[in-house]
């Protein structure tokens, strides 16, 4: 492998757990340090649709392009164009954080920023994981604020549906989910911690792909 050439803004190793999509055709020769934001390691081009999970794997390839920055309260995540529509849906949900107590004219609580951030990161990580595995995007969910201060993600595709609610528990924020192929056919139900991608849930969520 060629000696890595580090370029801004990724002159430092990426934090573990960040998912970044690779773009096709970026090489050391055509790299644009302003536009492309890549770390060049070799002169080879990349096949499209390859996605990386960690800095270690990231170093195995020669280029990265991140086009979209999603601000998440006190941090940000970079994603690339295939997830542009997802980014738009996420952006539209940011007003939840401005909702005041009683926003439903009744007893609704404010939305906990930590819960919102966790729900959005979960959505991004699972979307990328699924895209990485099957090369297809899942549909963008409806993101809704709940009156108890929690967040819902819901999907309805032509063949399946799923609802995930993010709420605090004694050991952190959990994702409680229910999904099926309508009429309770082959249902899936339970909860997962939100600090990792759960393989079983991610595999089921492939059914939400377009």
């Amino acid at each position: 492998m060629a000696t890595p050439v580090y370029c801004e803004p990724y002159s430092q190793p990426l934090p573990s757990g960040y998912w970044i999509s690779l773009s096709h055709g970026i090489t050391q020769q055509n790299y644009n340090p302003v536009k492309d934001k890549i770390k060049v390691i070799s002169g080879k081009s990349l096949p499209s649709g390859i996605h990386l999970q960690s800095h270690r794997k990231y170093e195995e390839f020669e280029g990265i392009r991140t086009d979209i920055v999603i601000e998440l309260v006190d941090e940000h995540i970079n994603i690339s164009e295939p997830f542009g529509r997802l980014a738009k849906v996420i952006e539209q949900s940011k007003f939840f954080l401005d909702l005041e107590p009683g926003w439903d004219e009744e007893n609704a609580l404010t939305i906990d920023p930590e819960v919102w951030k966790t729900a959005i990161k979960f959505l991004i990580h699972y979307s990328i994981d699924i895209f990485k595995n099957i090369d297809r995007l899942i549909e963008e969910p409806e993101i809704s604020p709940c009156k108890d201060g929690t967040i819902d993600l819901s999907w309805r595709t032509s063949r399946s549906r799923m609802l995930i609610n993010f709420r605090k528990s004694e050991d952190g924020i959990r994702a409680y989910y229910y999904g099926d192929f309508y009429n309770n056919k082959q249902p899936i139900k339970g909860w997962v911690n939100t600090n990792t991608v759960d393989i079983y849930l991610s595999m089921w969520m492939r059914n939400l792909a377009v």
């Binding site: 009683g102 009744e106 409806e142 108890d148 609610n165």
Partner: protein, 175 residues
């Protein structure tokens, strides 16, 4: 003042839904799953035998916002949906649909009207139940959605607010 009565399966309950929880899709209107998050005592609804659609909106208009003694709820921010009791009782996980009339005095305090129709649907905070309720509303939108011209109530609600608590809604509901 009002005894609890058994609610027959054949009846319906009204559920008022804030606009933030209403989805509009292909001219259909239905509440999303978030709307069906239950409070600790359940989901408040109104038994249609004891209240009319118009009165549901008036009741909202005569009720103060939570923890406030001045501002009334904006009844124009709500839409109302109607659910068959039989359906609710048939959903696995829904524990009960019980008449729970509210009587706070004669008259009751300003902003806190009595409600002989109040009913509680009790169920746990469960994604499957919430999805079932939302999907029923979606698939049966023409039956569940209760269109109503709320602006036709403006003058009446304004007049009632000026008379509070000396109105039937804060007393015995004998109109």
């Amino acid at each position: 003042m009002w005894p609890k009565e058994p609610i027959p399966d054949e009846d319906h309950v009204y559920r008022h839904c804030h606009y933030t929880d209403v989805i509009k899709e292909k001219r259909l209107r239905f509440p999303n799953e978030a709307h069906f998050k239950p409070y600790s005592d359940g989901l408040s609804v109104n038994w249609d035998k004891k209240i009319s659609l118009k009165q549901v909106f008036i009741l909202l208009g005569l009720t103060h916002k939570p923890n406030q003694n001045v501002d009334f709820k904006d009844y124009k921010q709500f839409q109302v949906f109607k659910f068959p009791i039989k359906l609710l009782r048939g959903i696995p996980g829904i524990e009960s649909v019980e008449h729970d009339p509210v009587f706070l005095g004669n008259p009751s305090p300003k902003g806190k009207p009595n409600n002989p129709a109040h009913t509680l649907v009790k169920y746990p905070d469960d994604e499957e139940i919430r999805m079932t309720l939302s999907d029923y509303s979606r698939e049966n939108s023409t039956e569940t959605y209760c269109p109503f011209d709320v602006n036709s109530l403006n003058a009446e609600i304004e007049e009632l607010r000026l008379r509070l608590p000396d109105v039937p809604y804060n007393k015995d509901w004998i109109m």
